[in-house]
Amino acid sequence: MTDVHSLSGAFVLDALDERERDSFTQHMETCESCLLEVAELRETAARLADDVWSVPPPRMREAVLARVAITRQEPPRRSRAPRPRRQSWRHRTTVAVVAASVVGLAALSGVFILREQQANEQLARIEAVLSAPDAALRTGQLKGGGHLTVVISPSRDAAVVMLAQAQPYDKDHAYQLWKIRGGQPASAGVMPAGKGDAVVYVTGLLGTETMAVTVEPANGSQQPSTPILGQVPLAT
């Protein structure tokens, strides 16, 4: 076992035997790059659970909640003094699982749109974009909070745009999506009024450099009437 380092993949897949698991855990104590890699690969492995869904019997919920009601929680672990070598990693802040949380959240809330426009048809179109061989993921942040995620498939000339956790405005205002081409914005859809989360299916992207979001009156505007809150470049 000369190259402990290369065990990171097997480690996060829980595919090491106990002895190797221990030696790898020990190795990580002194290996800053391992910590980062393991954190990322662990998140990645966890995404494999996205593909396995099974509905448990309803009695399980009651059983778990009953046990929780009589189970004491462990005290928080006192954080150890950071070792100097770990400092830079710690300061690089959080693991952001862009696709996982944003896509998940946005999809959940996107049901408003999906419902109204025949859920199945819309899901099929969304699925076609997501499973296109050339589908690419682009993400951006919104001023004032929230994420903008675009999955674009040039071969289908379509994109799925997801707004998640944006500040919801009142019922007279809505987020509006813009395709920006040669510096000129054209509307790509108005999100439901008063909502900070939505999924929009967009076509006709040829030549579009950027997707942008503004806040507009509930029915949408011809041209953006407020500053751009967030944008995602589409060019590869």
Binding site: E43, T44, V52, S54, M60, Q73, T93, A96, G104
Partner: protein, 199 residues
């Protein structure tokens, strides 16, 4: 910073934020209602994963209950700086499921057939369908981007609960090869899924 997302479910009741990270932080402070919401958010995936690894429904049920109670009990140890709440939960879930199959079976009969059993059940909730479509499509697409050996090494270990030496035996490949394929396969998957350490 929990935002309200009023989700219309099949029963038309509104649901609060589905942000697993925020929920888990509330759970760490002893919030049982947050735990209930977190349970509803992750349970089909946790149970799905455990069933996939453990196979036996009765055992899967038992292990899943233990996992969810452990999530409650150890939520205080969750450190958002080190990863997402769902990543943390599925790490616990996978470890527990794997521990169960390894303790249950003698080493010799652990090499078992990996039947591609469809554990997905018809979930008639549109909300869940929408999520599952998006998430599953992405994971599947990314898995397709791996080499056959990378994909098999990863899925046998993750869904089958095998050690990498067992995977090597199953695939008739050398140990170092499998070890390496697991790592470079996951790295490719990570890049495809857009899992990043934000700076």
């Amino acid at each position: 910073m929990e935002r309200r997302l009023s989700l219309i479910r099949g029963d038309a009741t509104a649901r609060d934020s589905v942000d697993a990270d925020a929920l888990l932080r509330s759970v760490a402070r002893g919030d049982e209602r947050a735990f209930t919401r977190l349970y509803d958010l992750v349970i089909v995936r946790v149970y799905g994963l455990v069933r996939r690894v453990v196979r036996d429904p009765a055992q899967a049920e038992e292990v899943t209950q233990e996992i969810m109670v452990e999530v409650w009990r150890t939520a205080t140890r969750f450190d958002p700086a080190k990863g997402s709440a769902t990543g943390w939960i599925f790490t616990i879930a996978h470890r527990r499921a794997v521990d169960r199959v390894r303790s249950e079976q003698a080493a010799t009969d652990r090499i078992r057939r990996l039947a591609p059993e469809a554990t997905q059940t018809g979930h008639d909730d549109v909300v869940d369908q929408a999520t599952s479509h998006l998430e599953r499509a992405q994971v599947r697409r990314c898995l397709q981007g791996l080499t056959e050996l990378q994909k098999e090494a990863i899925t046998l270990a993750y869904y089958g609960g095998y050690t990498y030496s067992e995977v090597a035996e199953l695939l008739g490949a050398a140990l170092p090869t499998i070890k390496t394929r697991m790592r470079d396969g996951l790295i490719r998957l990570r890049d495809c899924l857009g899992v990043v350490m934000a700076s």
